[in-house]
């Protein structure tokens, strides 16, 4: 009884509030959690896009909450639990699925219906889960196999034809090492964090390993051991520089000190920023190709792009969608932020603005669109991904940095995964 009376009072109160609303209905404030404004490289671009959006939508104000990239998944989970999530958030990788699993996201199917038709189908397919479309693709940033033409040439290799298989790669790395003993032959992220598993997953798949996820065969398999053994070989031969985050290789490749780099599309922008070279010089010095094929006869890639999510607690979903849609599909926004600032690929299938279309018509984008994006392999994202990543990457690190038998390491990973 008490509760009923209470809710009636609340209802009356709300009615009174709503009656007063029209006067201030214009002022909606959307909270937008993102790391774009938490990083020096992207902060200006992001703020400009927000300013433009506010200008175009006078009733909506964006309250941008800067949260660092490594923190955002955790923060969003915690804020969902505490009942004060933002309206919209920038999200990537496993965090997207973590949030989806935690049950705090608004399915976007009803909002995105028509828009989806204008996007590349592959750009949103991974986010169509049994809970609906959990996230809107903002940009695509798949990983490719970057190579320095100068170094390949110097090592007596064909600068236009990077190794196509892992055997070729092994041979090429040996030659590079011989010619340039002091450089980093292959840049790859071997830190222990969720992103590292995401980044290394395609390599594991190339060896046929499937330690977790749908149809998992576990870690204690010949395929996984082959992968771990290969990683150990990379370290023992001095090809890789373990422990570096992927971002630490980028200034180095710009200085010609990395031969091969397993990295996302945005690396072109970082290289050009650091060394100041123009497009033509860049393309003359660097190229990108699909991952060398492994035992399964193919290489893989992962999608490292960013998505936008709306939280089901949001009280202003229409405005939130307006903002998401603007960021993801408005061409001016795409040009200013996605392409020029974030150096990644907008999800739209085609562009009306010829300048934008032209800026995306580069050899690198071409290589990504035609040969790399099709090799993107699904990742075993979900609530258990972070725990599994800790276990698997700890094993990878052990393989790389110690002499323990690979069999033991694989068995250890499996026992961790079983816990």
């Amino acid at each position: 009884m008490a509760r009923i009376r209470m809710s009636r009072r609340v209802l009356m109160l709300s009615a009174a509030v709503f009656a007063a609303l029209p006067a201030m209905a214009q002022d909606i404030t959307l909270t937008f959690a993102n790391w774009a404004t938490a990083e020096a490289t992207t902060r200006d671009g992001m703020e400009q896009v927000i300013a433009r959006f506010e200008e175009a939508n006078p009733g909506i104000r964006i309250d941008s909450q800067a949260i660092a990239f490594p923190e955002i998944g955790r923060q969003m989970v915690l804020r969902i639990r505490s009942g004060n999530p933002p309206d919209v958030a920038q999200i990537a990788g496993n965090d997207t699925f973590l949030l989806a699993a935690s049950g705090g996201l608004q399915a976007l199917d009803d909002y995105a219906g028509e828009t989806l038709a204008t996007l590349k189908p592959g750009s949103y397919a991974p986010f169509q889960t049994e809970k609906g479309l959990v996230a809107m693709p903002w940009n695509q940033a798949p990983a490719g196999f970057w190579f320095s033409r100068d170094i390949l040439k110097g090592a007596g290799l064909d600068p236009d034809n990077p190794p196509a298989t892992i055997e070729d790669l092994n041979a090429a790395m040996a030659k590079v090492k011989e010619a340039y003993p002091d450089i980093i032959v292959l840049g790859m992220d071997t830190t222990n964090r969720a992103f590292s598993l995401q980044s290394n997953w395609p390599w594991m798949r190339a060896f046929g390993a499937l330690p977790i996820g749908e149809g998992a065969t576990g870690a204690d398999t010949p395929e996984m051991k082959a992968y771990l053994g290969w990683m150990r070989m990379l370290a023992q031969e001095g090809y890789i520089d373990p422990g570096r985050k992927i971002g630490e290789f980028r200034p180095l490749i710009a200085q010609g000190q990395v031969a091969f780099l397993w990295d996302q599309v945005l690396v072109q922008g970082v290289i050009q920023n650091a060394s100041g070279i123009d497009d033509a010089t860049f393309n003359a010095q660097f190229g990108v190709a699909p991952m060398p094929a492994g035992a399964l006869g193919s290489g893989y890639s992962f999608e490292g792009g960013h998505q936008l999510v709306m939280f089901d607690k949001s009280a202003q979903k229409d405005a939130a969608w307006k903002f998401i849609n603007y960021l993801a599909t408005d061409e001016a926004a795409a040009k200013l932020y996605t392409v020029d600032t974030n150096r990644s690929i907008p999800p739209a299938a085609s562009f009306a603005d010829p300048e934008l279309a032209a800026s995306l018509d580069t050899p690198v984008i071409e290589a990504f669109s035609t040969s790399i994006i099709p090799t993107i392999t699904p990742e075993p994202f979900g609530p258990d991904f972070a725990t599994a990543a800790t276990a698997i990457m700890a094993g990878v690190q052990e393989a790389v940095t110690s002499d323990r038998p690979i069999d033991d390491i694989a068995a250890d990973i499996q026992s961790q995964l079983d816990r």
Binding site: R74, V77, L78, R81, L98, A101, S102, G103, D182, I184, T190, T191, N192, R193, A235, G238, D241, P242, G243, R244, L252, P383, A386, T387, T390, M393, A394, G395, Q397, E398, V400, T401, S402, D412, S415, Q416, R419
Partner: protein
């Protein structure tokens, strides 16, 4: 004197009674401590017997002692305990030794050079831990790190050493960085205890023709011992709690070779969102702490 006696002067309360249980003046502090520490400890105890995963929508559920039995068979937990002990005691012992050695070397060095040298050797203590961590991570980098570069230029090593990326080297490497920041504390401690030795004592040692080593052993060491014991305890506590250095330098890796208890609890609670399990880890830690504290008090009492 009984608190508040002044105000109650006219109330003829007999003074025969025993002293009061509590002094009103400690009450505000105790209330604050109860709020910010007592309550969290109680909730840790409660959480430790629950399964409470933030990632699921499910409500926390009582699981009895399961978290604890899981911990017993958790290899990583025991690795973390081992790492924590190595990290803490390795740091404290070496830093205490170095700090004492430096203090003895600088003891009789006066003038501007002596003062400058003293100011320099204590300065690492004022470097924030996070900065120490980044600085040494930068110095330790396998390629591009200055340590390897210098060692190779000097011809001491042939190939760069993966300081932070070798399961056997990473923990010692972090300990070295930690020693760098901790040594000044012991330097200050020993220097101030040395300056507290009365001149008369040192002079009579000289009259007795005690040599440098005899003076050190018989006179200075006894004066240094108590501050060193207490300083060590303080630093052991501080290093048990140290998070920033390990987290920034290796995040517990490679493998779990530098995962300390703090890092492990943090990962459990805020990366895997397993608050119940993390709390159970905390409870075990608490018990270890209380045992250590009890032993320490006994030690201190026994010596008096």
């Amino acid at each position: 004197m009984r608190p508040g006696a002044a105000k109650k002067a006219h109330l003829s309360r007999p003074m025969r009674g025993r002293a009061p249980l509590l002094d009103g003046m400690v009450v505000p502090t105790l209330i604050v401590l109860a709020l910010i520490i007592g309550y969290p400890v109680v909730s840790t105890l409660m959480l430790s017997v629950q399964q409470y995963d933030l990632i699921n929508d499910a409500a926390p559920s009582y699981v009895g002692m399961r978290n604890f039995s899981d911990i017993a068979s958790d290899q990583i937990f025991w690795t973390a305990v081992k790492n924590t002990l190595i990290y803490t005691f390795g740091t404290v012992f070496v830093a205490a030794f170095l700090g004492a050695a430096m203090a003895l070397m600088l003891e009789n060095l006066n003038g501007p050079f002596g003062n400058a040298a003293r100011a320099i050797v204590v300065s690492p203590w004022a470097v924030p831990f996070v900065v120490v961590a980044f600085l040494f991570r930068f110095i330790y980098m396998q390629k591009g790190g200055v340590l390897n570069a210098v060692l190779m230029h000097l011809g001491i090593i042939e190939a760069p050493i993966p300081w932070l990326n070798d399961s056997d080297l990473a923990l010692p490497a972090i300990i070295v960085a930690n020693i760098w920041t901790t040594t000044p504390f012991f330097f200050l401690l020993v220097a101030s205890s040395l300056s507290g030795i009365p001149d008369a004592v040192l002079e009579s040692a000289r009259v007795d023709r005690a040599g440098t080593w005899a003076t050190l052993y018989h006179i200075k060491l006894p004066y240094m011992r108590n501050p060193l014991v207490i300083g060590s305890l303080l630093m052991i506590i501080a290093n048990f709690n140290d998070f920033a250095k390990v987290w920034v330098m290796t995040q517990g890796g490679p493998g779990f070779s530098t995962t300390t208890l703090v890092v492990y609890v943090y990962r459990m609670a805020f990366e895997n969102f397993r608050l119940g399990y993390a709390s159970a880890l905390g409870v075990i830690w608490l018990i270890l702490l209380l045992v250590t504290a009890a032993l320490y008090f006994r030690l201190l009492r026994g010596r008096d």
